[in-house]
Structure formats: C-alpha cells, structure tokens
C-alpha cells in the first residue's frame, strides 16, 4: 500500500498516526522495568532452559544403553555408503559402454 501512495499521502498518513501517538499514556520506566524484572525472576525458577532438565525426566535424551541408536546409525550409514557405491559403479559402467560404442561407430 505504501508503495502505491504518493509522497504527500504517505506524509499525511504518518501525520495522522503521530497525532494519535502523542497522547499515548506512558508509565514511568522505574515502575515498568521493576514489574518486568519481578515477573522474570519469579518465572526463572521454572524455566527449563535455565534450570536444565534432569536426564531421567528429559524426553529428548536418548535411552540408556543406546544399542538401538548405535545399530540405527550404523545401518543408516552403511546403507547410504552402499547406495553411493552402487550409483558410482553403475555410472562408471555406463561411461565405459558409451566410450566403447563411440569407438565401434568410428
């Protein structure tokens, strides 16, 4: 909207807004910052990112003895390595065949 407006219309819109904002009720910073500080300090004790989550209660912590995770990791990595070797091998074979075909044609 601001893109389609002329400079004078933009100025008028700004002026309208400034007239409204001049009469905004403002409270002293001492009161508002104290309220913010008090609220924050009271809530900090239950803030899990500050206090930390004990391992036994942390739903994101992997299970103890992680054999399942180690096997999953190995499996995932072995499969990925296998896939990349297969694609490399088939790619090379294709290149060899193409080269041979070109030689036969000539």
């Amino acid at each position: 909207m601001a893109r389609d407006m002329s400079d004078i219309d933009i100025l008028k819109m700004e002026l309208e807004q400034l007239k409204k904002e001049v009469s905004t009720p403002r409270e002293p910073v001492s009161k508002t910052s104290k309220d913010t500080m008090d609220w924050c300090e009271a809530a900090s004790c239950t803030d899990l990112l500050i206090t930390g989550v004990p391992d036994d209660k942390n739903p994101y912590k992997p299970e103890k003895g992680g054999w399942k995770n180690i096997m999953l990791y190995l499996h995932r990595n072995t499969w990925q390595t296998y896939c990349s070797y297969v694609s490399l091998f088939t790619g090379l074979k294709r290149l060899k065949l193409e080269r041979r075909n070109r030689r036969d044609v000539h």
């Binding site: 819109m13 904002e21 409270e27 990112l49």
Partner: protein
C-alpha cells in the same frame, strides 16, 4: 511543495513532542533497575535431536501449542515441502507438497488442526491436518496481498494474520477466505509479526526500521517503536505481553516496553557484526535466543544484556528458531536443511 514542507514540519514537531514525553517518564534505565540482580549462569544446551528430511534451505518453523501437539512442530523449506515433525521420535507426521516452492513462512494453529504457509506466491495457503479421509489438503488460499508473504500467525481456527512485502498486514476470515482488516502504516516491507499472549494485539517489524503495535479489534496502530538502524527481521512478545523484542540487520536486538512506550535495552556485542535472522524468548523471558547470519545462535540474559551461551552446530545461516510451549526445548532451523532440538 509548500504543503509538503508544512506537513513535514508538523510531523517533525510531533516526533519531538513524543521524544520529550518519553524522556519525561524515563526516570531510570533497565540497567540501573537490574543492578542488584545476578547474571544467569552459563547456559549450555546440547543438540538432542536432528530432524533430517528437507532437501533445501529451511526458511521457517513453528511449534504446536495445544497439549496434544506440544512436541510437534512444522517446518517449511524451499524444496517445496511443509513437514510436521514429532520431535521426540524425529518421525515425519505429515509431509505436505506445496504448489509453490518459494515458501518463506509457516504457522501451526493453536488447536493443532491446521497449518499455514506462504511466500513469493503472495498467498497464504491453509492446510487442514485433520481431514476426514486422513489426507492433508489445501483448505483455503488467501490471496489479496500484492507482495510476498513474510509471516503468518493463527489467532484461532477461523482467523489468521499475515504480514507482507507490500507493507501491510491483513487479518483474514478463514471460512470465507476474505480480508477482515487491513493494517496499513508501515513504509517498508513487513518482515515479521507476533501475536500477544492475550490475542488482543499484534506487533509487526518492517524494513522501515520500525516496529508497530496494532490493536486487532480496533484495527489501529497504537504505538510505533524506532531505534534500529536497519531492517527488522524478527520480532516477538515478552512472555508477559508487556514488552516487545526485535532483531535487526544492524546486528542488534532491542527490548521495547509497551507501557513506557520506549526502548529499554539493546543486546549488542562488538564481536557480532552480522544480522539477526530470528529470535525467541524462553518461557520466563529471562533468556533471549537469537539466530544470526554467522550460523550461530546467541543466548542473552534479557535483564543484564550479556551473552550467556552460544548454540553452534549449523553449517549455514540459522533462519528460524522457536521455544516449545512447555519451555522444555528450543528448535533451530537452518539453510543447511536441518532442524535441531536443543535443551
């Protein structure tokens, strides 16, 4: 030209009056008020889960808030997919293909029934996750913006607010797919928005270096906050709804108090020279987690304005960050196509 000069003089006069009024109530600074508080101890969060599956840059993520989906989150990537993740198991609950792959934002409805996304297609697409046959389909396509969709947030299952590169924000009625209210006033692209905890107000940050507080029902701009020296990329409410946090390309974050109508403190460090891309406050508001262009997330003590931790682990820009509704974990999304869960 004479009229322009007159108007400009009047505007400058009003701006001076506002600055004076703000100085009058500035009987102290936040630094002085918190002088007696101790700094929060070093915060060291570890990567607990890595969500792999996206094939291109992740641009946005949003946590679910309902008790049924407090461990679910949605992420949007320019590989043209919207993925709903179960962060505990790292499974993909839904992988939604998008019509347009140029997505820039996503949102999870508070009820958990819908997700929304939008981007360079100038539209906000709403998807119903709880369809009758189990398929996820487009429920509505909200089109009226003349610029890219930079951010969207649900108020409830029938209302959503979007911010756009056309310098406006719109409140939509999802049932009818029409605009209820258009919030115009910014002079630059609106880059981000956040809804207050009581759902009565929202704030928007724009490329005109200002943040504006809007009253949703009265459809007016209540307050404007300036001070940043570059585009505001990220914005959020302080958890008690009385303050606003902004993150900008000028490498700083600022805390603005709504009741005192002014900036309380700036979070900056001479060693940080890259822009802030995203931010999130912890549940108590004591910690500010901000993602930067240098691939890191810095954790700030919001009251003392000092860095108390770093989350380093991504191989590219951190584009989005969010703290879960139960405050137990935070999720970061990056241009390296991975999401990480930290706590």
């Amino acid at each position: 030209m004479g009229e322009m000069e007159e108007l400009r003089k009047e505007a400058d006069n009003l701006k001076d009056q506002i600055t004076e009024a703000r100085k009058v109530v500035q009987d102290t600074t936040l630094q002085e008020a918190v002088a007696g508080t101790t700094l929060v101890g070093r915060v060291q969060l570890k990567t607990r889960k890595t969500l792999r599956g996206h094939l291109a840059k992740i641009y946005a993520m949003h946590w679910g808030t309902d008790t049924n989906c407090s461990k679910l989150c949605v992420s949007a990537s320019q590989d043209g997919k919207l993925i709903v993740w179960d962060t505990l198991t790292t499974n993909k609950v839904n992988a939604i293909p998008l019509k347009s792959s140029w997505v820039m934002t996503c949102a999870y409805a508070p009820s958990g029934n819908m997700v929304a996304c939008g981007g360079l297609d100038n539209m906000c697409s709403i998807y119903n996750l709880k369809g009758k046959d189990g398929n996820v389909k487009v429920m509505r396509e909200l089109a009226a913006h003349t610029g890219y969709l930079s951010c969207c947030r649900f108020l409830n299952d029938s209302e959503i607010i979007t911010s756009s590169g056309d310098c406006t924000c719109i409140l939509w009625d999802i049932e009818t797919g029409t605009e209820k209210t258009i919030f115009a006033g910014h002079l630059g692209d609106c880059m981000s928005l956040a809804v207050s905890p009581d759902f009565k107000m929202f704030i928007s940050g724009a490329c005109d270096f200002t943040a504006k507080l809007w009253d949703i029902r009265e459809a007016t701009c209540r307050q404007t906050f300036s001070g940043h020296e570059s585009d505001i990329n990220a914005i959020g409410f302080f958890p008690n709804g009385n303050a606003v946090i902004t993150g900008s390309d000028d490498a700083t974050c600022k805390l603005y108090d709504l009741r005192a109508d002014q900036e309380l403190i700036t979070y900056q460090d001479s060693g940080i020279m890259c822009g802030v891309t995203s931010l999130a406050a912890s549940l108590s508001g004591r910690l500010l987690l901000a993602g930067y262009d240098d691939f890191n997330v810095n954790i700030w003590d919001m009251l003392k304005a000092e860095r108390v931790g770093v989350l380093a682990g991504h191989d590219n820009r951190v584009s989005c960050i969010g703290v879960s509704s139960d405050g137990m974990a935070c999720c970061t999304g990056s241009w390296d196509s991975f999401l990480k869960i930290w706590n």
